[in-house]
């Protein structure tokens, strides 16, 4: 007991010592952003406003679009199907991945569709989906759902196969049923993989959202991008693009935060000791 306490204390001290002469990470990221945007802004005189744009002009365009309310309406139109489609993908993908990974028969029966679905160019199916579902809300949901479902499902599946057999045997030795082993051992042990899949899917879901709006081109941020590009209003085009990037990055760090909350042991076990 004393040995463990000493070890913990030593590690704490080491951590304090290390962080003292290190830059905080957000500061490094902000500095990096400032440099990149600074150089981009400095290049402004060289940029033809039809072929490109620069930060101050994009900021002006943002102000215009935000003041008229056009941007916020479009954002709402994009976010609603995003939340529904992405949420459905998690709600379906995680349980599906769990059962495929846990039970051989289910893996043999359904695994092939998940692998195929992941590799399939789903964009090619969009015209068909429009025929089925029209140009409204649900076609966007379907596209976002399909494109984010597979990375979540495959990662969960992979995670289940990586659960140590010995932990399953702990459950068995205490006479746990299959359902209990799945819920109380496999699910928590797979959480880090699930979160990785959920993270990967954010990027694909954002792309899916824009693709869907390009094809339907009636509403949302995708429609602003398309309309601005067609009118050679390049600065306007950049506004929703950058907004989407900020959204995706924000969502990504939110998921990272959730991950540290639901799986705090992972950071301790995995090698996070980097230079």
């Amino acid at each position: 007991m004393a040995a463990a306490d000493e070890r913990l204390a030593a590690r704490e001290q080491a951590e304090v010592a290390v962080t003292q002469h290190r830059w905080p990470r957000p500061a490094i990221t902000l500095l990096s952003l400032a440099v990149v945007f600074g150089i981009w802004e400095l290049c402004a005189p060289l940029i033809n406003p039809v072929f490109g744009s620069y930060p101050s002009e994009i900021a002006m365009a943002f102000w215009q679009l935000a003041r008229t309310g056009e941007l916020w309406i479009a954002l709402g139109q994009s976010l609603q199907p995003f939340v529904v489609g992405y949420g459905l993908a998690i709600a379906v993908g995680v349980p599906l991945g769990l059962v495929i990974g846990r039970f051989r028969t289910v893996e043999a029966a359904l695994g092939i569709y998940v692998t195929a679905g992941y590799a399939m160019p789903l964009v090619a199916l969009v015209p068909l989906l429009i025929l089925w579902l029209g140009l409204g809300f649900w076609v966007k949901v379907a596209i976002i759902f399909l494109m984010s479902l597979f990375p979540i499902c495959i990662n969960t599946w992979l995670g289940v196969t990586a659960v140590p057999k010995s932990l399953i045997e702990v459950g068995k030795s205490f006479v746990a049923t299959d359902a209990v082993i799945l819920r109380r051992i496999v699910l928590p042990a797979t959480l880090p993989y699930i979160m990785a899949g959920v993270r990967l899917a954010v990027g694909r879901a954002v792309v899916a959202m824009v693709v869907a709006e390009f094809f339907t081109s009636i509403s949302g941020l995708g429609a602003i991008i398309l309309k601005s590009a067609n009118n050679f209003e390049t600065a306007n085009m950049f506004v929703p693009i950058l907004l989407l990037v900020v959204l995706a990055v924000g969502l990504n760090s939110l998921i990272g935060f959730v991950e540290r909350r639901v799986a705090p042991w992972q950071a301790e076990i995995a090698g996070r000791d980097r230079e």
Binding site: M1, A3, A4, E169, V170, S173, F174, R184
Partner: protein, 260 residues
Amino acid sequence: MSEIDLIDLSKRFALKVDGKPQIVHALDGLNFTVRTGEVAALIGPSGCGKTTALRIAMGLDSASSGRVTVDGRVVKGCGYDRAMVFQHAELLPWLTALQNVMFGLELKGVRGELLRETAMQCLDLVGLKDSHQRRPYQLSGGMQQRVGIARALAVDPKILLMDEPFGALDAQTREDLQEQLLGIHARTGKTILFVTHDLDEAVLLADRVVVMQHGRLQEIVTVPLPRPRTDLAALRVTPEFATTRYRIWQALHAAAGTVH
């Protein structure tokens, strides 16, 4: 009465060596009995099937032929009459020490205040009451194994099965835990069957040592050391310890001699 009988136990694996299928006899007609309240050690060269025998007794593996009985009833799968202590503790990393101990109890159907109370008592028994809120990665190897023992004791099994429980620990921690296990045995009177590769451990802890070779029983050596055994360091320098250790050593070497 809780007596565990291994009767004519055999286990065959199909193995592919250089692409050719081979049948490996992990257990080949093993017979022995562990009496009520007894501590028995299972020892033998690696690959002799001692862990396989223990896993079949627990119900984690099935025998190819033969059977294991507890109090005369044939073992079919796991049950709360037996509990396993694993070689590397195998705590669930997302649960605290207390929650790990409560895990088996909850599965057994214990609820409410009794659940927490029993788990705390078991942690107290292994001397970890104050660390009940730590997670496994915040515990040393020895502490983890003590939680593993507490978790097994919590379901109040008649028989404790242990697979090289102290094999992965450093010498000093191992000795601490050996003394602690003897204390727990003296207080609870559980029947204990444990696998080890450590001659000293076998002699110090067990009443009888089952020596195995090639999936069969080689010899059963009775340990004449009296109980309670509290001072292990003093026991080590007794002539009984030395002669018993030597007899087991001879049995192991006789086993090895038959191979070549």
